[in-house]
Amino acid sequence: MTDAVTSTAQRAAARPAPVAEPLAHKLAAQALSLAEQAAAQSDALSAWRQAALAQLAALPFPSKKTEQWKYTSLMALDAGHLTAQAPDQAPSQTLPEPLAPWRLVLINGRYHAELSQLPPQGVTLTRLDGSAEAPLEAPLSVAEDGLRTPFAWLNSAALQDGLLLTVADGVALDAPIEVLLLGSAEAASHCHTRLRLQLGAGSRATLIERYIGQGPVLTNAVTELVTGDNSDLVHYRLQAEAADTLHIGSLILVPGRDSRATSFQLMQGNALRRNDVRVLMAHSGASASLNGIFVGRGNTHTDNQICIEHRVPHAVSDQLFKGMAGDKARLVFNGRIHIFAGAKGTNAELSNKNLLLSPGAEVDTKPELEIYNDDVKCSHGTTCGQLDAQALFYLRSRGIAEPEAKRMLAFGFVNELLAALPDAAVAEWARPWLESALTEAAQA
């Protein structure tokens, strides 16, 4: 027997060279060229752009084989969204009624002061457009430990405009601040939106992020929320863009010591929707509550990736997400709870419930626990099913037509979340929004 040929040598010879996925390769090149162009500018944001560019260049671009992108294909971006920038234009449509007395408007990522009502005293608005004289504190999206997704790096690397809202210590706002983000274009293009809210110690604020728009525009959004000690934050992320838009959003939340943060995400599926949410429980006594309603319609795709990291002792988090998928829609949910070794006394819970409303719909969900400490209480639960046949029969036997009965039951499914919305203006907006979202989802 010859033992000259070993399997290691043969394996090396037989294994095909790793084939870069053509799409990922192409998109990565587009993203890099975009970032490189932007990074060539020299202004107050240069340092951020350079740092982000370096990260972007080093990070592998997501492909079908990337675990976090297992269920989401970037095929929709093949139309060249990353090669053209959405025009900076005045809105072609009348803006919807504001949900709050103070509203800031961004169109395709650009701030429009003429359409905005400035927030009151105690809140400072800084534009992140490179005009600042003093260098700005690096945002979390650029920090090593912040948002670590390629699209967040791309956003930072190509940053042209954005808003920084700072609420001073001890200021309690009695009404919400709304940021309206309109994305619209005729041809495949992209825009980057950037929003950062900093709450001072002992302050209280409500932020409404509201995304609207239509056309084949990719909104690559980054939102950073950093709250001070003993502060209160209520945050809404309302995503009501038309079905032909694309949205890739990254959100990071860092609650301060003994602070309370509550977030509601209401979204409709569109051509491509991907949300990466990262919550860092880095201060003891903090509590974070994340809630969401997702409605998939038509042929849309909605992918939510939520990661909560408990790094310090005695912080609490809970999550409740409900998804409904109609027609041929696909809902993807990944909820990750990561408890670090030192995080004693952590309580963390996650619940994800899904309804499939039609035979062509698909739900892929993965609640994850990664725990390195025994003194914790963690749980997650997820369900997937359809509307209760008995309940449906009951309603129909009372003379309620099937579509109406289904709509009622779907409302009932998410009602606990609707009822929990703390602001009346948002709650009033949410009901008709859900109504029309469900109507669209029911259409086959």
Binding site: M1, T2, D3, V5, T6, S7, T8, Q10, R11, A13, A14, R15, P16, E67, A341, K344, N354, L356, L357, S358, P359, A361, E362, V363, D364, T365, K366, P367, E368, L369, E370, I371, Y372, N373, D374, D375, V376, K377, C378, S379, H380, G381, T382, T383, C384, G385, Q386
Partner: protein, 480 residues
């Protein structure tokens, strides 16, 4: 509360089955190439088609990258340091009865508490004992044959029942299924073959004990169980291995075929050497287990995993036929530096298929215990039903417990429920027990046993006892 020293002593609990029996072996030098495969095949006098099948698997394996997705951390494996064939020397002429078996070998079994002669009389269990790679003695064969049940080593089956082996070998786990399954397909040494004819209820529980005995020898078992229409079989697999420092590679494949109306119950107690408290030594266990369930059939996996330095194991069921049932009950215990990444896959293809997953993970020391599962509902699987519960118990603040369940639903009439919890041993329960004069170790042992009860009750009697004992040895002192 006990002192830390006592607790440590209990956690360390030396490996009771750690001894090495000195038997000369006919072992190949380490390394793998086509000649090695030809040698293995030639040694067994295999037919040409099987050699071709092995070589095809080897070619596929060569082109496959090493999987890295599991939540495991181990030094890279060198497949050229593993010896791929080892047979006890005295086996050159197959012994026709136990009397012909090397007495040293029999003593080994006795040390393990499974003397074959006694087993024959005990509880009607037939034992197909595998010592390293060659079947040593098979008991109760005649009795089983009377019922028409075939229970023999797979090498024997290749010669005697090629008409049964050919269509089913690789039908559930194809050669190129995954890295370790491909490796197994190329070099599998031996294993068990079971065939239950139509409508037969196997008259006894079938059992195989494995031992890995030759240092640096990979053990590549291949098990194939075919339950014909309307039949029933319960199969037990239990393992223990001598203590040693070299990492031993184990890549087994188990294939189950449940034809319409058949039931297969497959139980495992795995207690291979887990390595010492610093993670030195221990078995690397990469196993592919899968069953195909046809109409109205049922496949049930029950496993108690306490051994191995690395466990990579996902017993799965493909619910192909309508009304098929899949079950997975698992207790996985890790301590010292053990790492387990285990779980199941339930692939629902047929209508009205149901699956149940109960997984209990217990981690202590500096170990890492991961549940990884997949529940997939295909668009055709009307009214499919799944229930999953994964609970983790952490003993100490240096271990990890993780849960990664994948749930994919493409049929609205399917109902899927998944829940997972992670906690430590409840102080209240502990207090209650101590209140009644139960010492802490005993109390923890009771609580952990209660935690695992749902799984233990699925085990056949003989195994339930062994499983309870295994947990007791490794766990009870771990409360601090």
């Amino acid at each position: 509360m006990t002192s830390q020293a006592e607790l440590d002593k209990l956690i360390r609990g030396d490996y009771a089955a750690g001894f090495i029996s000195a038997i000369e072996s006919d072992t190949l030098p380490p390394g793998l190439n086509e000649d090695v495969i030809r040698f293995i095949s030639g040694k067994k006098g295999e037919p040409e088609w099987l050699l071709a099948w092995r070589l095809e698997a080897y070619k596929k394996w060569l082109a496959m990258p090493l999987p890295t997705w599991a939540h495991l951390d181990h030094p890279p494996l060198d497949f050229d340091e593993v010896s791929y064939y080892s047979a006890p020397k005295s086996m050159a002429d197959r012994p026709q009865s136990l009397d012909e078996v090397d007495p040293e070998l029999l003593r080994t079994y006795e040390k393990l508490g499974i003397p074959l002669h006694e087993q024959e009389m005990l509880a009607g269990v037939a034992v197909d004992a595998v010592f390293d790679s060659v079947s040593v003695g098979t008991t109760f064969k005649a009795k089983l044959l009377e019922a028409g049940v075939i229970f023999c080593s797979i090498s024997e089956a290749v010669h005697e029942y090629p008409e049964l082996i050919k269509p089913y070998l690789g039908s559930v786990v194809p050669q190129g299924d995954n890295f370790y399954a491909a490796l197994n397909s190329a070099v599998f040494s031996d294993g068990s073959f079971v065939y239950i004819p139509k409508g037969v209820r196997c008259p006894m529980e079938l059992s195989t004990y494995f031992r890995i005995n030759e240092a640096k020898t990979g053990q590549f078992e291949r098990t194939l169980i075919v339950a014909d229409e309307g039949s029933y079989v319960s199969y037990l697999e239990g393992c223990t291995a001598p203590m040693r420092d070299e990492n031993q590679l184990h890549a087994a494949v188990v294939e189950l075929v449940a034809l319409p109306g058949a039931q297969i119950k497959y139980s495992t107690v795995q207690n291979w050497y887990p390595g010492d408290e610093n993670g030195k030594g221990g078995i690397y266990n990469f196993v592919t287990k899968r069953g195909v369930a046809h109409e109205n059939s049922k496949i049930s996996w029950t496993q108690v995993e306490t051994g191995s330095a690395i466990t990579w194991k996902y017993p799965s069921v493909i619910l192909r036929g309508d009304n098929a049932v899949g079950e997975f009950y698992s207790v996985a215990l890790t301590r010292h530096m053990q790492q387990a990444d285990t779980g199941t896959k339930m692939i629902h293809l047929g209508k009205n298929t149901t699956s149940t997953i109960i997984s209990k993970g217990i981690s202590a020391g500096r170990s890492s215990n991961t549940y990884r599962g997949l529940v997939r509902i295909s668009p055709r699987a009307e009214n499919a039903r799944n229930f999953t519960q994964c609970d983790s118990l952490l003993l100490g603040d240096t271990c990890g417990a993780h849960t990664f369940p994948y749930i994919e639903s493409r049929n609205p009439s399917a109902m899927i429920e998944h829940e997972a919890t992670t906690s430590k041993v409840s102080d209240d329960q502990l207090f209650l027990c101590r209140n009644r004069g139960i010492d802490p170790e005993k109390a923890v042992s009771m609580i952990v046993n209660g935690f695992c009860k749902e799984v233990f009750k699925e085990l056949p009697m003989e195994f339930a006892v062994e499983a309870g004992k295994l947990l007791e040895v490794s766990l009870e002192g771990a409360v601090g």
